[in-house]
């Protein structure tokens, strides 16, 4: 059963197409790695799949339902995004951020053990309580990863998730991804980082709006 499906997706900027006729089917419990040259359109494709950008053509379907027909509230619970912006309130601490975003998506459920999540992504407990404004790039990225984890979504769309992470951070990221996949999540990640390639169940290469199986390097 296909979880996320892109049918004939096209996207244009200034009257010029970046993506044309993109066809993509993502299954549950798989991790797909998307590669492509700089400017190939990976980030744009992820945004379209997440429903935060409207494609000029074609449609994206989640479990067979076109995205525009799904309530945004429901969508947010299903699809998690990690991109270049950290998606955190800089004035709040890591703990407060994770708790807030969890509560927005799952109000009234049991309180989440946010501290455990943060420790999971390798954030020292000393850093849990201070505003993330002062965080280093890698620390921000880790916190953002914890936010995604807290969302409990089952479709993960990650744009260069290993940016700024040190070697230990990359290993943690790989762990997390494998764990989530084992729980049935559909993961699509765009990256240039060769360290993440071995995780892939499937590798796709984006070239002029055309998706093809990547040659194994």
């Amino acid at each position: 059963m296909t979880r996320l499906l892109a049918e004939g997706v096209g996207w244009a900027v200034d009257g010029r197409f970046v993506l044309v006729d993109v066809e993509l089917a993502l299954q549950p419990a798989t991790l797909t790695v998307l590669t492509g040259e700089n400017g190939a359109g990976k980030s744009s494709l992820l945004e379209i799949l997440a429903g935060t950008r409207t494609p000029a053509r074609g449609a994206v379907k989640l479990d067979g339902v076109p995205l525009p027909e799904i309530a945004p509230a429901h969508l947010a619970r299903r699809i998690a995004r990690l991109d270049h912006a950290p998606g955190l309130y800089l004035e709040l601490s890591a703990l407060e951020n994770v708790r807030l975003f969890h509560a927005l998506l799952h109000p009234g459920t049991a309180v989440l053990d946010a501290a455990a999540l943060l420790t999971d992504v390798g954030l020292a407990s000393r850093d849990h309580m201070r505003p993330v404004r002062g965080f280093s790039r890698g620390m921000l990225q880790r916190t953002a990863l914890a936010r995604v984890l807290a969302s409990g979504a089952d479709v993960w769309l990650l744009d260069e998730p290993s940016t700024g992470l040190d070697r230990a951070g990359c290993a943690l990221l790989a762990d997390v991804l494998q764990r989530v996949r084992a729980q049935g999540a559909t993961i699509l990640l765009a990256t240039h980082d060769p360290a993440l390639l071995p995780l892939a169940d499937r590798r796709l290469h984006l070239d002029h709006g055309h998706l093809q199986p990547a040659q194994v390097a």
């Binding site: 309130y89 800089l90 109000p107």
Partner: protein
């Protein structure tokens, strides 16, 4: 659910505001500054200062409110959390409501502190304080809701510092006109009945805005 999520977001805004502590103080200072500037600019010798109170009061609230509105979504932009906050389990409405409440809180406190100052500076007194306060409350509610809507719509538009007042002031015209008229009329000792029409106008405006704003916001934001 809606209320709970609104409360969550409002709490967050309050916390952010408390951390970057000075906001409240500055907004008030700015309002005071407006009063002083207007006094300089529009008072002439040999004229009763009290007559200027309605204008000064309402225009100051309009201007200082705008300053608050320009900062309303600052935290969302900086961290790139706007899309996340728009997609709560109850849709985008909690975000709009929390922002409107935040703005109302700010402008309400500013007004309460500003009012006595203006009265003392301009040597005036309120003939019918309850009516004026009611008008102020109606005005601030309308401004907060409409302002939050416009600010939310313009978040991603460049030049929004200029566009926000440009769009907002004409839209708020009925409230400002009515507010100024009410204040003038009470000062002139008009009977309460003379004010009813104006208050009804403000009430109608607020009702319109409170109902349509969340709907329009959702239509635009939730793709």
């Amino acid at each position: 659910m809606l209320l709970r999520l609104t409360w969550l977001l409002l709490q967050k805004d309050l916390r952010v505001a408390a951390r970057s502590r000075e906001v409240f103080g500055f907004m008030l200072l700015f309002a005071l500054l407006c009063v002083v500037v207007f006094a300089f600019g529009f008072l002439r010798e040999g004229e009763a200062a009290a007559a200027q109170v309605p204008g000064v009061l309402w225009v100051t609230l309009l201007f200082s409110g705008t300053v608050g509105l320009l900062r309303l979504f600052a935290a969302e932009e900086e961290g790139g959390t706007l899309v996340l906050a728009e997609r709560t389990l109850a849709g985008a409405t909690p975000l709009l409501l929390s922002k409107a409440l935040m703005q109302l809180l700010f402008s309400g406190v500013t007004t309460l502190l500003l009012l006595p100052v203006v009265l003392v500076f301009f040597d005036a007194s309120l003939a019918q304080p309850v009516l004026v306060l009611a008008a102020l409350a109606l005005g601030l509610v309308g401004q907060a809701m409409l302002g939050a809507l416009v600010a939310a719509l313009l978040v991603h538009v460049r030049l929004r510092e200029v566009l926000l007042p440009l769009v907002l002031y004409p839209l708020l015209a009925p409230l400002v006109i009515a507010g100024v008229r009410i204040t003038v009329l009470t000062q002139a000792g008009a009977p309460a009945e003379a004010l009813e029409g104006w208050l009804a106008l403000m009430l109608g405006f607020d009702a319109l805005v409170l109902v349509t704003a969340p709907w329009l916001h959702a239509r635009v934001v939730e793709l």
